[in-house]
Symmetry: D3
Subunit: 327 residues, 6 copies
């Protein structure tokens, strides 16, 4: 691959990984270095949580832990920042007291970055921001009829209608997206869903709309094959990937607001993401990282690697495309 | 004093302090044991914070640490639960996504407790709840013209007008109370105020309205005398006491959302509260305890003792009144 | 199922999960709501430990973390508090300086609850309390000859004779129960036992008496099948389930007094408990939760879910019984 | 001073302070280097606590933090291990389930060290062990009639009669010592006592027997002068010093079982101990260090320095004695 | 004052304090906004420590905590970033394995910033970097004969000759600076020095060269007056201020490598710095912040405020100068 | 087996596991009890790290957690200290500022122990010390031509040439050992290697020299069989085992300097080590334990068990040898 596709990174011989103002993965700040393929965009917002707040500090913590991200994926045999132009777009403007205003503000801001960043990976923040992330990706993809496909990692379905009379919060984004036409529930797969739930009714909406649900055991037993098949059927069509860190067991990811025991190990989660290699991911988010509960920093470190692995899937797609290009 | 003024407490010989469902100070739950002089009422709400959230878990943490509260104040030579009928009123209903609705909800709930609890000490929750606490106390006192006097411990003035366009949050309660007529700024004293502030303008509203501000050094040098004089001038008139735990140095109270270095030690803070002995405190709050940052539980433990010392001031008043009663 | 079998729970729309005085799972306090099928009973006692004390604070911590327990088990497709009448019986009286007196005190107290609570799940406290729990269950079951069957999760056998000359401690309960006739070692299965042990002799008592021991690897390889078979052979006969949280790896459960590396993940442990569905569990305990070491609260959270899954096994049994009832 | 009075210490040029098996202050293990003036003796016991256990791990934690102890006291202008022969006597044998047996065991063990260690400073462990420490010091001093004088730092009086029917625990040692004739209450001074207490009665025993009580404020205002006067009146007679770390504020010493807000800062505590310079301290203890709550290790570090400062008082006495010796 | 002297800061209405890539105090990155009066420069280096390493992460942690720094100093009645042009210069290049090479590298880098930043405040990193900071300030001041005056806050003297045969480490910077002629020991004052020391010899070098040493008690009793007098005698001459966070008690600043009990409270330290108002500080450092030990982030927060207060001293000087300017 | 092959251990009936000065596993200090088969030797050094320092405190932390090590391995049915003479050799002398000098110093010290300790297991310290450990083992084995075989557990290859221009650090030991002739890369197997790496080039050296690399998934799928085969092919020839704790997932081992998500669980790691049973391990190390990040002590506890399991492999070898000895 040629240099012009690569991300300019600091020389570790001069600036060790523990030095310097933290951008995600030590990438250039958006705008410093021309348009990019992917930018991370922090959304420091937790106004939509129903239990433990604090994930407004998530983007900052993920940036700090991302300093130890390296470049080369052994599993995919690819140098990710060597294959993609990457940038850190900083944090979106938020309205800390209002979910709906925040979602609008984030969407407006995301749109304003469009000529500098082809695709966005949002770092939460609570899961309510997935609405902004997916709406942006859908609009940026030309608002395909039926909405985007979606790969969703979570302990919870997040398809509730209202909580405390409020439609906009971290338990409802996928319902709102389906209502908005941006998400096609029949091409949505949710992995890591696990009990206990509030009630049996919670499953109904998902089932009625055709969302495919893989519980924890099923995700491990059938997930990788099912994901490869899912990606294959998309045939290069656009898909959004939403990763709620609470699908990971609290032993690995204590820093989250609604921790669920019996979750994935980090190795299992990375293995599942890698099974999405080649998907045409047009937008993504990694959400619900709550630093004040993250006693050893592991959750934020894992979130940084999850973001890396998502981007690696796209790096693989681009490589495969080049490799199979016209002779 | 006679037994009928005392709080019924569990026998520590049967139920050690580390056992049992936690009510504040191991007091009876409101209603179990007849009307009471004071009830604590938790307000698990942090929708009004501007920096670090999480104090919705404050009431729970304070209750837990309050299990080691004992009865007898050496400094005042008085047995507090032996002199006052005390109860735990549980937590008020809140609307986690809305400050204004929460304040209304708390006020309605507080009013509903009126025939069972003469006075309320609210456990926050963020400082926005002081609006509900003081409005209730003012109304319960018959809405005296000019409003209540107020003794205020804090690092911040909390008399801002709006933050992010929002009038209701933890930086504004005293401005809203003055506007509502419930608080008399000319009989308000703020102790522990310290820099840095956002700007010099922050001081103007307070000064224009006649609030007496004692900075950190002045609070220590002149605070006790000034408080005794302040209480003396009230001549038994009603006063509200609002205690923001962030007036304490973060070494002593790390568990708070906007920590300010250079604050009081716990010994200094207790000494200042004790200087209010004899005041006719008709309502009080202890706010901004954020358990997720409270690495050793000290903040919640201190908050429980602050509540105890506030009540001790009232116990002293009642004793003095009895002692000086008709022969 | 009809409403009269369901537990009355607070309305989360009024009282969020972070609000209110903590009862286990937000269940009613025993007595508030009529007799119940199961009550949890805390036993805040750690006078029997041989290494790290502090699990006297276990019941309190488990109650706090249990606030996020939900109702519906996806895996069993059952609403647990919707199928069982549940209550929190508070904590048993203990004698902190004396194991034997405490066991007597807990048994007397448990007996006094008999007409209000059909079955008890005890929250430890150290493992010495299993003696009280199982003696009570045995007596309540009419002291069946030969003793109760037992499903035992642990890293340790807990069948030692004496430690420091003392017969009553957390390493000896099952030996004492066998001696008392309450436990049938030939129908006891211990899962998760792992090395290193103090000596090879520790295994002899268990082997001589016919206890079936599954080490860590065997538990995972053969545990679910073996448990289903075990339950099936019981044919509805009474069984006691004792769960020592130290069978879980310290990565998942750091808050315990004798942590053993190489233990179960939380997903593995839940899967094993679920394999007991349908067993006629007449008493249970979840022990050795030590909050001062539980850096992120994960251990107590997991303990709450372990208790939930144990009860789910009984909910399944009752459903199956109803479903196969007389036409 | 001559070399034969000095403690042999490792060469920091070879063995940095972060290296090596930890003996207290890096001193020789007792017996390695001839008889000593003072030995520290750990008593890893917490069977006498009434609230939070875990101080059985105190001696180990204090040893670890003591590695950063240095030699020279600026305040007294004296090199402490250069003036005293010091050693670490390891830990006394204990009976973890029994206070009384442990006290006997510790006394027997202390007596067995008598020809190798002139005086002992015990590291707790809970305060119940002060009985063993002071009985040993009294016996070693020839059982002077009336008992020893005592300087006592604590938040609590520790002169209760019984707790849960048990006479031997950490709330009772000084009552037991007075009853045994080893402690003269009329020459006992307690500093740092503070409220709240369980009841007013707790003060009576102390007052009836003539113990001088200095509350927190009085300790700071008059403590140093009062201590110098107290030491002066002893005129070289033997005195025991007992230091309960909970007299220190939990901001400085979170690692203790019954933390009391409003306590001494570390600077205040050291200043008070230094006021005892020249006293003929014949035995001492530093107790109630609970590592599992000591989030940053500060409590154990402070305990090591408290021990150092106590020994410095004796080093000063010996220097003064030499300086004023026969010409 | 006119706008052209003020620092451009983000609008908190758009970018809350918990949002965005962290520059110190949310100041512009050096170069974004023209030349500045002061720049902070991180030196992420801990190759010179003798006990606990990790302060290479200090600059990053201080930047994070500095997000809550505000503008207006009540005590000096001055808006600091409103009176000074401030910038964050990022981190200097370091050589993690070599003290001497690092010092050279930092000095070369500092020199390269000279036309953009008039003065530098370095954020450590260990105290060895003070050599680079003061050499730079001295050279930038035109290498005045006799060297610079120095105000030094520390528990330690840092005038040792060698440790483990090495001249360059965190115990030696002031000795090296005196040897280099950059520091005038006769105009150096060290506050907060406290025992115990390694040996009495440690004091000799300082005394022989005329450094004024104020121990902990003397610093509090006489420090403010002495500092005002010291500044006054300088008569506007250049002075360097070096602040080792370990002069603060570990209760307030646990995050440091060689913690010393009995240190300053944060209020005391800030009061002492404020006594330097008006000094012509030509360079400064705040060193020895070790985030891995900083359990609640208090140390880094305090370090940020210490830096703010140092700059406030210079803001006051410039204001006084303007106020007394030509009519 | 006869007693003369057993390690003398303290009587737990007198000295509980929480008591006494800590030697590794409570073993005798080297020299107290005659020559031994294996000694652990601490190397408290972290001068070779490239990211997070602090593992100089590793040996001390591992010793403390090792107090709960027991004797009997269920999995191998062997009493390890009953089959091997074990001792704690304390810590090697180090030069904290210099990797190369430290390696020399450790080698000289190790050689000096040769007549007291047949084999050494070094406790790090950072991975740079593996050079000293393996050089010693190689020399002690008579410097076999081609070098020793090696079993290597790690996330990283540690075969880099230089970092920041320095050849001696924790990323380079195996390259230096191959250059020195002490290590035969063709008989080296590295397990747990995982991405991301700095670059694809990092793999080349290893591949060019014939090191067998098993990534994370391959290690689990094929590791046990591959290790048994590897050991079998060695046919009793000498092998060195180097265990970098960062091959373990940070959920299990947060206390390390370069944590890598997606690592082994502790059960998986122990299973892999056990597959080496019977190997003629002539030297070993367990490195990169960083206590300041080890929030619950799990990493050090696991490191102690890893050391135990390594020794168990040798105990099995000796038993098998005896069992197959001449009749």
């Amino acid at each position: 691959m040629s240099d012009d596709r690569a991300t300019r990174l600091p020389d570790s011989r001069v600036q060790p990984r523990f030095a310097g103002v933290c951008s995600f993965g030590r990438w250039p700040v958006l705008g410093e270095d021309g348009p990019c393929d992917w930018a991370v965009l922090g959304v420091p917002f937790d106004g939509g949580v129903t239990y433990r707040p604090g994930c407004r500090f998530g983007p900052r913590a993920i940036r700090e832990q991302s300093q130890y991200l390296k470049h080369y994926s052994i599993e995919h045999s690819i140098d990710v920042p060597g294959s993609l132009r990457l940038a850190d777009a900083g944090d979106a403007p938020v309205r800390p007291f209002d979910v709906e205003q925040t979602l609008t503000s984030v969407r407006v801001h995301a749109a304003s970055l469009a000529d500098r960043a082809e695709r966005l990976l949002m770092l939460g923040g609570d899961h309510s921001i997935a609405f902004a992330g997916m709406m942006h990706a859908w609009e940026r993809s030309g608002r395909p009829a039926g909405g985007l496909a979606c790969i969703h990692f979570d302990s919870h379905l997040d398809t509730i209608d209202t909580v405390w009379g409020e439609q906009w919060n971290h338990a409802t984004p996928f319902r709102r997206l389906i209502e908005a036409g941006a998400l096609d529930p029949k091409r949505m797969i949710s992995l890591g869903i696990k009990g206990p739930l509030n009630s049996a009714d919670d499953l109904e909406y998902a089932r009625d709309h055709g969302i495919e649900i893989l519980g924890h055991d099923a995700s491990l037993a059938r997930g990788p094959d099912r994901l490869r098949e899912f990606v294959s059927r998309l045939a290069g069509g656009p898909v959004y990937l939403s990763f709620d860190i609470d699908c990971i067991d609290p032993a690995y990811a204590p820093g989250t607001g609604t921790p669920c025991v019996g979750g994935f190990t980090s190795a299992e989660a990375l293995m599942l993401i890698r099974a999405c290699a080649g998907a045409n991911i047009v937008g993504a988010d990694v959400v619900e990282v709550l630093p004040d509960r993250d006693v050893a920093g592991n959750t934020a470190l894992l979130a940084a690697h999850v973001a890396f692995e998502i981007l690696a899937c796209d790096a693989v797609r681009r490589r495969d495309k080049r490799d199979s290009g016209p002779a």
